[in-house]
Symmetry: C2
Subunit: 259 residues, 2 copies
């Protein structure tokens, strides 16, 4: 059987979490969107697949098809693949822990996305820059540290991998968010990374896994870009200019718990 | 075994999706946060549990504990309970379809949350009202219809339940989002609902399930409120005032695909 990954062809985006798992387990797969249109690939095929052959359960890409099985939602797809190919812990308790981490990383990814699209996915970044700057500031100062501390804390408790005794799909996801955050927020990450040595070391170990090292050096690994989830807009990485700083400093943020 | 649900005691919030499943299957459970402090409940216990007994895998509430199993992330918890108690389809293909729907509904819930918190969860709604108004407008005009069409389309394809031949935990989740959207966006929903008759009918059928009907009429069902995920701020439900309408009308939103 050949897996079919349906995802936008020009970007890493959410699809990259799935590509990493497929590559690491050496799965036989087709990256449908990246095929030429003559072989059933391209943008039009993806859109018509979402409305047709992948309906009714897939709401958005990425979607994975494995024969008659259609799975959407990144964290669910990576869990599905990981458990099928020995890239997941055994046992219910640890499988649920892994799924919990995968979904928490998915939340981090969504929040990274919303730094450049805080108002609407239907509009360009350039149409929502003032809100983006504010959301990015909160993301840099509160959310990145909170998520990275969470991952670091798991590694401190569990050892060299996030769940169980060996590498699983969630370690690959952790690698990808570190890489993505480094691309999007280089100034912020340079400052923060020394506080998360276990996570940085995990990132480096994952990058050296033989199949992944080959993949990452290949043309199959698309570059990060400002069309993807992790985007490098210097104004979203830098501290606010002085005038704004003074203005926001008067509004002292009060603690809120997450609902 | 008694399930322990860890969630904020005063709100429906994300915890409500789990309460509905626990109630519908007649599970023996404790809503830990709602116990008096003298019996191990209350806000302090929840915070210390997150940092202690529920660590390291739970990032945020809600969290469910079942003996030595700790699960976080709403969609994962409801799947776990649903599959254990016959409130989920059988078979891998349909279980994955159900999990896909549950996670898509979770995305809708997060987007509903972000209408009142588009900038930062660390600040109050009142500190982010201008962005909230814009995000809510996009949510009302684009996202609610997109998500509700998705659910309606599934029902059109599958019948009286979202996945498989009988009611599952995702049907309960669909009930809850319809109820929540009605609370938060009554004007918008009154206008939109006629377009989604199957979804509205599903909502009504779920509300009539004997155990849920008892629960919904009981004090265990907390009221919706402006402390939860679905909040009723009339300014986020109403069309923008005329001056804003004219201004946004000049910026014609261009289509963007979701990453």
């Amino acid at each position: 059987m050949v897996y079919e990954l349906f995802y936008w062809p020009e970007i890493q985006g959410r699809g990259e979490f799935i590509r990493l798992v497929l590559e690491d387990v050496g799965a036989d797969y087709v990256d449908v969107g990246r095929l030429p249109a003559s072989r059933g690939g391209g943008y039009k095929r993806l859109v018509s697949a979402l409305e047709g052959e992948l309906a009714p359960y897939a709401f958005a890409l990425p979607v994975l098809r494995a024969d008659s099985i259609v799975v959407a939602q990144t964290a669910l797809i990576t869990r599905f693949l990981g458990e099928r190919h020995g890239l997941a812990p055994e046992g219910e308790r640890e499988r649920l822990a892994a799924a919990t981490v995968a979904l928490t990383i998915a939340d981090l990814v969504s929040e990274a996305h919303d730094t450049h699209h805080p108002i609407s996915v239907e509009q360009y970044y350039e149409q929502q820059k003032p809100a983006a700057r504010k959301r990015a500031q909160a993301f840099r100062s509160k959310r990145i540290p909170k998520f990275l501390s969470y991952l670091e804390g798991i590694l401190a408790a569990n050892g060299d991998s996030l769940v169980g005794r060996s590498v699983s799909y969630v370690d690959l996801a952790a690698f990808q968010v570190v890489a993505g955050l480094r691309y999007a927020f280089p100034v912020t990450m340079a400052k923060l990374e020394p506080e998360y040595p276990r996570l940085v070391a995990l990132h480096d170990r994952i990058a050296e896994r033989p199949r992944l090292a080959t993949y990452l050096a290949s043309e199959r690994r698309l570059p990060f870009s400002n069309e993807g989830i992790f985007r490098r807009y210097p104004e979203l990485d830098a501290p606010a200019p002085r005038r704004n700083q003074r203005r926001t400093a008067t509004k002292k943020p009060r603690k809120r718990r997450r609902k």
